[in-house]
């Protein structure tokens, strides 16, 4: 299964992940 997030955010929104990284529910995805 897959979950896809698509959202609007200001230009300085940053992701704190890398492609291929394992992630767990509750961990940071991104922020301003």
């Amino acid at each position: 299964s897959t979950i896809v997030l698509i959202f609007e955010a200001p230009k300085d929104f940053n992701f704190y992940v890398k492609p291929g990284q394992k992630i767990r529910f509750g961990e940071a995805l991104g922020s301003l």
Binding site: I3, L5, F7, E8, A9, K11, Q21, L32
Partner: protein, 332 residues
């Protein structure tokens, strides 16, 4: 061949034919992989090898929905208590499930694999990050993320799909926060993206998370937002593992999926749960009307449901807190 007596000819049985063609195709694929490896080692960037239309059609012709429902029905049969531990242990071993995090560790508690697949975690197993506005809604692997440009969303590196095909036409009525669509947009794709974004100073971002078979398969709210609309696209149930995702362009637009759209503090927000082979059923806890992986559906159709009660202006949808239980994937 002409002179040999018939009985001495090795009778060409279908099995031999299958082995020969299967073996030939496998050998060809190995050779291709070896060639790509050599090119990669010599520093040549290889574009992802994308399936041709006939390969996609061939794959889509496999009755994966029927198989998925059968698989779901099989796994809903109540197992005798003595059989639960061996079967579930095999699944745990095969997919590397960490049972220490499960709310219930005793395998006899789960009457079948479907119940096990819907297992919950101990609350303390997944602390919610308080310092970032967007958290991961589930366990899994990050396939891709970043800005959405020209209305194309990256599926994996080098392969994109159309945002408009994925979300479908605009559902929300003119929302109060939205500014009128800019008349300058050059193409319809551009205006589709522009109409999603409510402020000029904002961009559109995306993130794709792949859940492996052994992962915890419930999902939660990734931020504080209000869900105003649900769109359910019945569709195929092709595998979405990273290898297939790199092979079939627009894979997420082919598969059964449930698109939740709404608003967060910066404007538009959406979460889409995409079904896959054997995991064709998707539940959204506050959406009783949602029925996925039904036997019959018309191609290209979708079902809309609005949670925004237009009368009560304050209730623009279902308010979801960051980390709140939102839904789950089910076998079948």
């Amino acid at each position: 061949l002409h002179t040999a007596p018939l009985r001495s000819l090795p009778r060409l049985r279908p099995f031999h034919f299958l082995v020969a063609t299967g073996g030939g195709y496998a050998g060809y694929r190995q050779y291709e992989k070896h060639k790509e490896k050599q090119l990669e080692n010599s520093g040549v960037e290889i574009p992802p090898k994308i399936a041709s239309d006939w390969e996609v059609s061939l794959y889509k012709s496999v009755p994966t929905r029927l198989l998925s429902r059968a698989w779901g029905r099989l796994n809903s049969v109540e197992l005798p208590t003595w059989l639960r531990k061996p079967i579930l242990s095999l699944y745990i071993w095969t997919f590397g499930v960490n049972m220490k995090e499960a709310a219930v560790e005793d395998l006899h508690h789960y009457r079948n694999l479907s119940e096990f697949f819907r297992r919950k975690l101990k609350p303390q197993a997944r602390p919610i990050c308080g310092s970032h506005s967007v958290i991961s809604p589930s366990d899994g692997k990050i396939l891709s993320f970043g800005q959405v440009k020209n209305c194309e969303v990256e599926q994996v590196k080098g392969i994109t799909y159309s945002l408009e095909s994925f979300l479908g036409p605009h559902a929300c009525k003119e929302n109060p926060k939205k500014k009128p669509a800019s008349s300058s947009s050059s193409s319809s794709r551009d205006s589709f993206q522009k109409q999603l974004v409510t402020k000029d100073s904002n961009e559109l971002y995306h993130c794709v998370i792949y859940l492996a078979p052994g992962d915890y398969h419930c999902f939660h709210s990734p931020t504080d937002w209000k869900v105003s609309h649900r769109r359910h696209f019945p569709g195929s149930l092709m595998s979405v593992n990273p290898g297939v995702t790199r092979w079939i362009k627009e894979l997420f637009c082919h598969n059964e999926r449930v698109v939740l759209t709404g608003f967060w503090k910066h404007g538009f927000f959406s979460l889409t749960a995409v079904g896959a082979q054997n995991v064709g059923s998707i539940r959204i806890y506050f959406d009783r009307d949602l029925h996925t992986n039904s036997p019959r559906y018309s191609k290209g159709s979708y079902n809309d449901f609005s949670f925004a009660d237009t009368d009560a202006a304050s209730r623009e949808g279902v308010a979801m807190r960051k980390g709140e239980h939102l839904g789950e994937f089910n076998l079948g």
